[in-house]
């Protein structure tokens, strides 16, 4: 089992429940922001010393949910703070961006890091389309064309032109090309049938986060294998990344106390303002093109929000407890899903950094050794 340390870079001090998205930034304090970036980058780099195999970054816009509007900047900050770990860019929200720029920045990171980049090609969550004024109804086709263009930019040795539906570039020849040959491995999110098929068709790693139902996740993984085989390739367990909110403390009681507070902030402060904007996109556009996908998306978030911590642990949505408890929880989920990469989000909401760091050390000393056989 490989382990990633994932960070959302949340703003931890938002004073009230925000109801509007985008969230007004008048509560942002620059000096507090500077300190958070410094602490978060230190913490992410520390993951290498705690035995993690990768560090995950991601992109979100316009709210205290995360301060990483461009994950590539954080990736660049981590390149020279780490030597061994993968830099999992999970990722750039490709349909919102200039694909040639994505190809260039991922290539820069890959070369600078000596080939440690995992290239996330994310479609993004619905409301992000408002941020960059891109039609959500085109998101899937934009992603498809953008990924094709990025792969071409990474692998085509001669300058080439691109005349597509969404993108037109008369002449492209990026410098640098990627360090990895032929290019960094792709990773895409797959939380419904529509997206899982897309991931497998692209021979990408499969990422699943915020699991509400282990059986549903298992069904998506089975579909991933099935579609991959139909496209002539065989995924390995390491290609399947499952993300979990995680709190590891010295005792079960301590972990649960921290996690309850952190999840409360996560769901009621950080996630709250996105709901109305997501509904606008989901109900008013063809973001989800397959019937039922939008209902499932909203139902999954509502389910997670409504469940008690104990119910979330039981459902395999979060890991929480002493090192031995968490190792047992991970073993149970692994038995259900058979995945080979586990991604831990330990900075959940406003979880104190000292709790996060203690959890990382307990992971290194008592969780990872207990799972050597996986």
């Amino acid at each position: 089992m490989k382990f990633n340390f994932f960070h959302l870079m949340p703003w931890t001090d938002y004073p009230r429940e925000p109801t509007e998205w985008p969230v007004s930034n008048k509560e942002f304090e620059p000096e507090r922001g500077r300190q958070l970036y410094a602490d978060y980058i230190d913490c992410m780099a520390y993951a290498e010393q705690c035995g993690f195999d990768g560090i995950g970054c991601n992109e979100h816009h316009f709210s205290p949910y995360g301060l990483m509007s461009n994950p590539n900047l954080i990736g660049a900050a981590l390149v020279h703070r780490t030597k061994r770990v993968n830099l999992a860019m999970l990722g750039n929200l490709v349909p919102l961006l200039n694909p040639v720029r994505v190809a260039e920045e991922y290539s820069m990171l890959d070369v600078m890091s000596g080939g440690r980049v995992i290239a996330g090609m994310m479609r993004g969550i619905p409301h992000e389309y408002i941020a960059y004024n891109v039609p959500p109804s085109d998101s899937r086709e934009r992603l498809r064309e953008a990924v094709a263009l990025i792969l071409k930019a990474w692998t085509e040795p001669e300058p080439f032109g691109w005349e597509g539906q969404f993108y037109q570039f008369p002449s492209v020849s990026i410098w640098p090309r990627p360090y990895q040959k032929p290019h960094p491995r792709l990773l895409m999110s797959g939380t419904n049938e529509e997206s899982v098929e897309f991931v497998a068709q692209h021979k990408a790693k499969l990422g699943i986060v915020l699991i509400a139902d282990l059986a549903l996740a298992r069904a998506n993984i089975d579909l991933y294998y099935k579609v991959a085989r139909a496209h002539g390739w065989e995924p390995v367990p390491e290609d399947i990344l499952i993300g979990h909110h995680t709190c590891i403390a010295d005792s079960d009681e301590e972990a649960r106390e921290h996690m309850r507070k952190a999840l409360d902030y996560f769901h009621h402060i950080l996630m709250r303002p996105q709901r109305s904007a997501q509904e606008l996109v989901i109900k008013k556009t063809r973001y989800y093109q397959r019937e039922g996908s939008s209902d499932k998306f909203q139902a999954r978030l509502a389910t997670l929000r409504a469940r008690s911590l104990e119910e979330q642990i039981e459902a395999g949505s979060v890991y929480c407890g002493s090192p031995e408890t968490v190792a047992a929880q991970m073993r149970r989920v692994h038995k259900a899903l058979g995945h080979g990469t586990e991604q831990l989000t330990m900075k959940v909401g406003n979880m104190p950094d000292k709790v996060v760091r203690r959890g990382m050390e307990l992971f290194r000393d008592r969780v990872q050794p207990a799972l050597k056989d996986l």
Binding site: L96, L97, N98, V100, Y129, N133, V134, S137, F166, L280
Partner: protein, 267 residues
């Protein structure tokens, strides 16, 4: 579609109004310059039936004896809407008319479906802005592109009379002592438009309203001074049409008309 002038007899006096187009009703409240037809209004009349009452005392009309404040003017607009439109309608208030529209939304919320405020007066501006008394200076601040402004067809005396009516309604200072504390009650979906070059109503006004009116939207129209619909008619029409059609969901790009923000990309 041409605007036709009509009259309504109300207990307070005769009220002139212009009407054009067909479709859902749209109440347009004019600025301190009086009523004039702009390209966006003409375009909107293809999808909306526009009703534009002439503020008593403006454009050569008689004032109403018991209508002497912006608040009373909004009451009059509500009576007009009740008599002539007869149902909830969208409202566009421009500058002075935006002030009136704010009072209308505060006191008669049942009148308004969607509310568009174009550089509205009447609320705090941080001590900035204001309408110069010198006509040439005022015109310079009204329009970033005077060549795009509608031709001046009104007699000078009528324009001077319009200006005097600001005093009649207690509006010469462009600020209202009472209204700012009331706007937080506005519940209608609201779009606040501000020109990036507006020196008459500064950004502080837009920020104040955005902060006070829950769920409202603030949009800056680039390269427009105070009369946005004259300086940037296409941008104005794009925003207002989308908002009137989709309400709060106008912020989601439907891919039909809005240009992509992506270099090298198209929608």
């Amino acid at each position: 579609m041409p605007f036709e002038r009509q009259e309504l007899n109300l207990p307070s006096g005769k009220l002139s109004y212009f009407v054009a187009g067909s479709g859902a009703p749209l109440l347009y409240l004019h600025p301190a310059g009086g009523f004039s037809v702009s390209k966006p209004l003409e375009a909107l009349s293809e999808r909306y039936k526009i009703f534009a009452p002439v503020t008593p005392g403006f454009d050569g009309t008689a004032s109403h004896a018991d209508v002497t404040s912006m608040e009373q003017l909004a009451d009059l607009a509500a009576r007009f809407a009740e008599h002539v439109i007869g149902k909830r309608c969208d409202v566009i208030g421009q500058s002075f008319g935006g002030w009136e529209a704010l009072w209308l939304a505060v006191k008669h919320p049942g009148t308004i479906d969607h509310l568009v405020l174009e550089a509205p007066a009447g609320v705090p501006a941080g001590g900035k802005g204001g309408l110069p008394s010198d006509p040439a200076e005022a015109r310079r601040k009204l329009f970033a592109y005077p060549d795009r402004a509608p031709p001046v067809t009104k007699p000078v005396e009528q324009l001077q009379g319009n200006r005097r009516m600001l005093d009649h309604y207690g509006a010469a200072s462009l600020s209202d002592a009472v209204l700012p504390a009331r706007v937080a009650a506005i519940a209608a979906p609201t779009l606040i438009l501000m020109g990036t070059k507006d020196e008459i109503i500064p950004p502080e006004t837009g920020r104040f309203l955005k902060e006070q009116i829950a769920g409202s939207h603030l949009a800056y129209v680039y390269d427009a001074a105070h009369v946005i619909q004259s300086d940037q008619p296409e941008r104005y029409l794009r925003l207002v049409s989308a908002f009137l059609e989709r309400g709060d969901a106008y912020i989601v790009n439907w891919g039909s008309s809005a240009a992509s923000a992506i270099p090298g990309g198209t929608t």
